[in-house]
Symmetry: none
Subunit: 394 residues, 2 copies
């Protein structure tokens, strides 16, 4: 079963609004085993909308149109779909009454043009969920279907979750389930990772049990996604677990977490489990490290604080450890962490920075080369430091 | 002149990555007067990529392909474009040498498959800017053109700004110039702003000299964009200056900056001009404020440092001023700033926070209600505090 997504609105093409709806819909479709091979953004133009939706319907079984259901003259999705269905528009009195009720509930008079939202193509059914004044539509075209949902994200999601996904699943006759797991890695390049796992990927290509995909995610490291399709959830989970075990054997300590875990959430969880607190000295990283840690630990129960200050004269591995120790002692925690550099003028290549960790009974430092613009260097420095702490806590 | 954008990558269709590149490119195209009528996402599949790019080239003058230039087997944009051009791939030795240099600079061996990035379609020219290991391409097809840029946003932007936009402009033969200016405001709602400027917008609609557009930008405030099209730069600038003057008369102090200025860059510029230094106490904001200020002032010449610590017992306007004063005195600057709250348990509604500024000869505080999730509350608290300082420095 194939379903395309057409996101409608000139503001999307002009970059005034980022189309996050298609991405979210694509994710939901994948989870019910429906392929979405094309997703198109098109402006509020009758001819171009009609051509785009017709082409999508030609090469797929279903089309989800997102946007263009508002009350203004620009909002013509309803009319374009009617033209494709070859039918007239007709007033849905129940919807009209519901829209009137919404305005009365808000104590505001209803502008006349809002009633246009109650005009639907003949033969379409309206979607039960209607959190705003725009009804969603299910529009049969032969044995295919066009869905129309609003561009307002929460309205779209309510209709997708309440009606569209179930309707698609029923039409697809799909009985298998798809599950996936993301392995989060740090320290491997994308191509090196692909080479390391090449034979496993090759075996899966032959058996078809599951797929492995790589996704370079900048300062989030490289994600390895394992996806399996099976007859039921238990079988899919079993396939994934077996593949993840194989990958873990190969990658070992390069794996820092799974799925929604981040480097900072993993490190904070490890500290929490061990009953340890941490403080930071931030010069190069200028507050980013604190920001990340307090986002996960807003009450600062584990991350107890930081000193943000200009880079001092300290240099090298010893300097990083001294800064970490000073933060630990000043704030009174079990552990101190710091990144210093890039040291100038000095004997190191540009972009050389030092990360230091002062533990209760030991200290460690690493030297890394992080050339590039400052913002990237800072973000890489933060994850490098947290990765050092993670490995030393193991 | 019409230019379509094709965003390439199965991860985009699956919603694992949101396609922000097309939006950004759409915005840039609009600024140089190029229409972008369709933007398509397609997966890493030869046939579908070829069909999509061919169709885009049929109905437009230029196509920008974004993504699929990496070193893995999935990355086939180069090959698809060669097929459309009807040419073979050939190794670009200069690019190959450059990629080798990049790996040597990182002290890492180059995996063999990275060299595939140096294979380009015959007749294509490589884009001079090359921040990563993926070269961008300019590929002529008859009197039309396909550009290929990486999916990594900062690499894509550098190539767009360095080469693609100028090349498109030259090809378009557009002789009129479009200029725009963005007025940055804080403290006004979007509909109130639109009402305040309604007659000016109406006059412009009638004369057609220029347009005024509003863009709500969350914690960046509301942007008011004035755009003029004229025969030359001087004429366009004159039209914009006249309109901006009118808007300034209406909005006054709600305007904090223009174009690329941010609240933090404006405040740091004001402090620099006055020879003043500042220090911060961060509890609620957990490092975000330091992060923003050190991004603009990485050597910390004006922003001299911060203490990031758990929320203390201090409360109310007096508490905010006390925290600001403590930061100023501890770090030895002219000015101290702080945000505290949301105070619990207390007499204030949820989300009540206090921003305080300790100047050399005076102190000020404001109380604001910032309900919502913590991340938004923090970001709003930062801009609220900086806006308070800005107004007190005036």
């Amino acid at each position: 079963m194939r379903c395309e997504v057409v996101a409608i609105g000139t503001e999307l093409l002009l970059g005034q609004v980022v189309d996050t709806n298609s991405s979210w819909i694509g994710e939901q479709l994948a989870l019910i085993g429906v392929d979405s091979l094309f997703q198109v953004k098109v402006g509020d133009n009758f001819g171009r909308m009609e051509a785009t939706i017709r082409q999508a319907l030609d090469r797929s079984d279903a089309v989800i149109c997102c946007g263009g259901l508002g009350p203004t003259q620009d909002d013509i999705t309803r009319n374009v779909i009617a033209a494709i269905m070859g039918v007239e528009m007709c007033r849905d009195d129940a919807i009209a009454a519901h829209i009137r009720d919404i305005f009365e509930g808000r104590g505001r008079p209803m502008p006349d043009n809002n009633l246009s939202q109650a005009d639907v193509p003949e033969g379409a059914t309206t979607i039960e969920q209607m959190p705003g004044t725009a009804p969603g539509l299910v529009c049969p075209v032969g044995d295919k279907v066009i869905y129309a949902v609003p561009g307002v994200p929460h309205e779209m999601r309510e209709m997708m979750e309440g009606t569209v996904l179930e309707d698609l699943r029923r039409r697809s006759g799909e009985t298998s389930v798809i599950r996936s797991r993301v392995i989060r890695t740090w320290g491997y390049g994308e191509s090196a990772l692909a080479e390391t796992l090449a034979d496993q990927v090759h075996n899966l290509d032959e058996t078809g049990h599951a797929t492995i995909a790589f996704q370079a995610s900048g300062i989030e490291g490289i994600k390895v996604r394992v996806t399996a399709k099976a007859n039921d959830v238990a079988e899919a989970e079993a396939i994934i677990t077996a593949e993840v075990d194989l990958i873990r054997d190969r990658l070992g300590d390069y794996i820092f977490g799974y799925d929604e875990e981040t480097m900072e959430s993993v490190v904070l969880d490890m500290l929490h489990a061990r009953g340890l607190t941490v403080a930071a000295s931030e010069s190069l990283t200028g507050g980013i490290l604190s920001n990340r840690l307090t986002t996960i630990d807003p009450d600062m129960e584990i991350f107890r604080g930081a000193v943000v200050a200009p880079a001092g004269p300290a240099d090298g591995e010893d300097g990083a450890i001294a800064a970490a120790t000073a933060a630990r002692d000043a704030i009174g925690t079990d552990i101190g962490i710091s990144v210093i550099g890039p040291a100038v003028p000095d004997d190191h290549p540009p972009g050389t920075v030092f990360a230091g960790v002062a533990l209760p009974d030991a200290s460690h430092a690493v030297k890394v080369a992080l050339p590039g613009v400052l913002s990237r260097m800072r973000s890489y420095a933060v994850i490098t430091l947290l990765d050092l702490l993670r490995k030393r806590l193991d």
